[in-house]
């Protein structure tokens, strides 16, 4: 890609609704141009800027895994003008996309290790990408534990897939909601508490945390307390990214720009960056 400021065209192939209130929708996008498809190489954790002419751009983590070919998946929460406009899209409509941007989860380092995935709310997107990726070559990794929390049962995304993952015996799935609700048979309580309860031993385990800032803020100390070293904890940060190419200054924290030096940072790196969570 020559000019990172110019979006490429994508076509909406499939739209899924994630919650009853219909504020969370999942979009599968296919490439309009073959050349773009060939050039698009990404790994779990990276993000893209989705672009609506006349409205602007917003960053979204890629929810599909590179092992799933032919489409890119994004889950969009309806909050602002761009996401509103995305929610108006129908199958077959075109949308602009810039990416892949940012770095990725340390998948190479995870080989031969246990992996702990901690997610919250609709930030589970890139974690889904990671999970699918890991399962694509399941034998390369040891135990995989997933802790996923949401405010209430409706706000989990990818519910169908979660049901499938729960049936597998090679993934430990722990779901939790903030407050008890009738008919909920899984855990209740905030993510950090659940992590403390069910996290595997830190030996040979890499932890990946992604969720709302407040969840990250309280989960990281728990992992440290459990004995995870700073190099073994990774998290994905969020800021209002605009240019995605390390210039416009919005996502600047310390000497880093989240859009090119992140969004994935190890806890060791975060210790040298002020104002992170």
């Amino acid at each position: 890609m020559g000019n990172y400021c110019i979006p490429q065209e994508m076509r909406v192939e499939r739209i899924g609704t994630e919650d009853p209130a219909r504020t969370l929708r999942t979009y599968d996008l296919s490439f309009v141009n073959d050349a773009d498809r060939e050039a698009f190489k990404y790994l779990p954790g990276q993000f893209c800027e989705l672009s609506i002419p006349g409205k602007g751009e917003s960053p979204f983590g890629i929810a599909s895994s590179p092992t799933e070919e032919g489409f890119l998946r994004f889950t969009v929460n309806r909050t602002g003008s761009v996401t509103n406009e995305i929610h108006y899209l129908r199958n077959g409509d075109l949308i602009g996309l810039r990416g892949p941007l940012g770095n990725w989860y340390p998948i190479e380092d995870m080989k031969g290790m246990n992996v702990l995935i901690v997610g919250g709310g609709f930030a589970f997107t890139t974690l889904r990408s990671l999970l699918i990726y890991l399962m694509g070559s399941r034998e390369d990794y040891k135990n995989i534990t997933v802790i996923y929390g949401a405010r209430n049962p409706d706000l989990f995304i990818y519910k169908d897939e979660i049901a499938l993952w729960k049936q597998r015996d090679d993934i430990q799935m722990h779901l939790t909601i903030d407050k008890p609700v009738d008919g909920w048979n899984e855990r209740t309580g905030f993510v950090p508490a659940v992590v403390e309860e069910v996290a595997p031993t830190p030996d040979n385990t890499m932890a990946v945390v992604c969720g709302p800032p407040v969840m990250i803020k309280y989960t990281l100390p728990v992992l440290t307390k459990l004995g995870f070293s700073d190099e073994m904890i990774y998290t994905s940060l969020e800021r209002r990214m605009k240019c995605g190419i390390g210039k416009c200054g919005r996502c600047n924290i310390g000497s880093k720009y989240i859009c090119i030096d992140g969004p994935v940072f190890s806890m060791a790196e975060l210790k040298n960056i002020p104002e992170t969570v």
Binding site: G56, G80, S81, N84
Partner: protein, 321 residues
């Protein structure tokens, strides 16, 4: 005793008697032409307070900055006539409570406009300034000039009719009273008498300079919306480029938003990095508000801002018959 000594003494008393937790005043700045806001919490700091021709800042801006930062605090504030009206407006608009502020009026003879000083020195840098009252002495490398005060006053001061605080707890010295200012509307009337095409050309030329830095809005004590209409993105009302229609619309709407609330302190004009004659529109609006509704912003602490009030039998000649 001069104003500055009087002011220092008052601040010290207020602080030592715990009448206020914080006092907002001015002190000498790092540049000769501008004083800088001073935040006094101790008697020692009070010794730094000054008041002279360089004290242009309208300190009431700090009541609305970072909302509620002075909540549950007693704050004292030094005010010129225009600043006092801002404070009153803040009280009327429920941003602060009257009982939480101690208003200290200073007798104001106008504050300077840097660009007028610079014009008087023909661009030579001023390194020292002495306020002698009717004249102001400026010194720089190889020159010393005695300037007539009127010559360097901010245009807002030249048009001022209420130089004293109308609402205050203490007043430092002698009030000047209402100044009959016949020159006040001259510029506006002159402009109004031009044909509309000329007026438009001048407006366009003036606002074409705007670089949309929003300094005027941000220094304005009456502009404190959480999200300004230009920053809204859904709908995105107006473009953010320097395109002149966008700039004109921004300034017209900002003027209407501060209609009946603008105290004409001139903070916007002094902050403008592009020297736009911003106050012209403000004064036109103030004139209309006064003529039509008989209201002057921030004058009456028991009143109501003009645009949130109405009378049933107002003139409505402008309505099509």
């Amino acid at each position: 005793m001069n104003t500055t000594d009087n002011l220092r003494k008052t601040i010290k008393t207020l602080i030592s008697e715990k009448k206020v937790d914080l006092f907002l005043g001015w002190e000498k700045g790092s540049l000769p032409l501008s004083a800088t806001p001073l935040f006094v919490t101790t008697g020692e700091q009070a010794e730094r307070a000054i008041f002279d021709v360089t004290c242009g800042n309208n300190l009431s801006i700090y009541f609305t900055k970072d909302k509620k930062q002075y909540a549950n605090k007693k704050v004292g504030i030094a005010v010129k006539g225009c600043d006092a009206r801002s404070v009153v407006l803040n009280i009327l608009e429920k941003q602060i409570k009257r009982e939480d502020v101690v208003i200290v009026g200073v007798p104001c003879n106008g504050v300077l406009d840097k660009k007028k000083v610079l014009a008087a020195t023909e661009g030579r840098e001023v390194l020292e300034l002495v306020d002698n009252g009717d004249t102001v002495t400026v010194k720089g490398k190889g020159f010393e000039l005695s300037l007539n005060r009127q010559e360097i006053l901010s245009s807002s001061c030249l048009a001022c009719i209420y130089p004293d605080a109308q609402e205050y707890d203490f007043f430092m010295g002698e009030a000047r009273g209402e100044v009959p200012n016949e020159e006040r509307v001259k510029e506006i009337i002159d402009f109004q008498n031009l044909p509309d095409s000329d007026r438009w050309e001048q407006t366009r030329a003036e606002y074409q300079k705007c670089i949309r830095c929003y300094a005027c809005r941000n220094v304005c004590p009456s502009c404190y919306c959480n999200v300004c209409f230009v920053d809204q993105n859904d709908p995105k009302w107006i473009g953010s480029t320097c395109e002149y229609t966008d700039s004109v619309i921004f300034h017209v709407i900002r003027n209407l938003h501060v209609a009946g609330r603008c105290v004409e302190c001139g903070a916007c004009e002094r902050a403008c990095p592009m020297d736009i004659n911003l106050l012209m529109m403000n004064r036109k609006v103030a004139m209309e508000v006064k003529d039509r509704f008989g209201d002057v912003a921030g004058l009456d602490i028991n009143g109501k801002p003009a645009m949130s009030d109405f009378k049933e039998d107002e003139k409505q000649k402008f309505i099509m018959g």
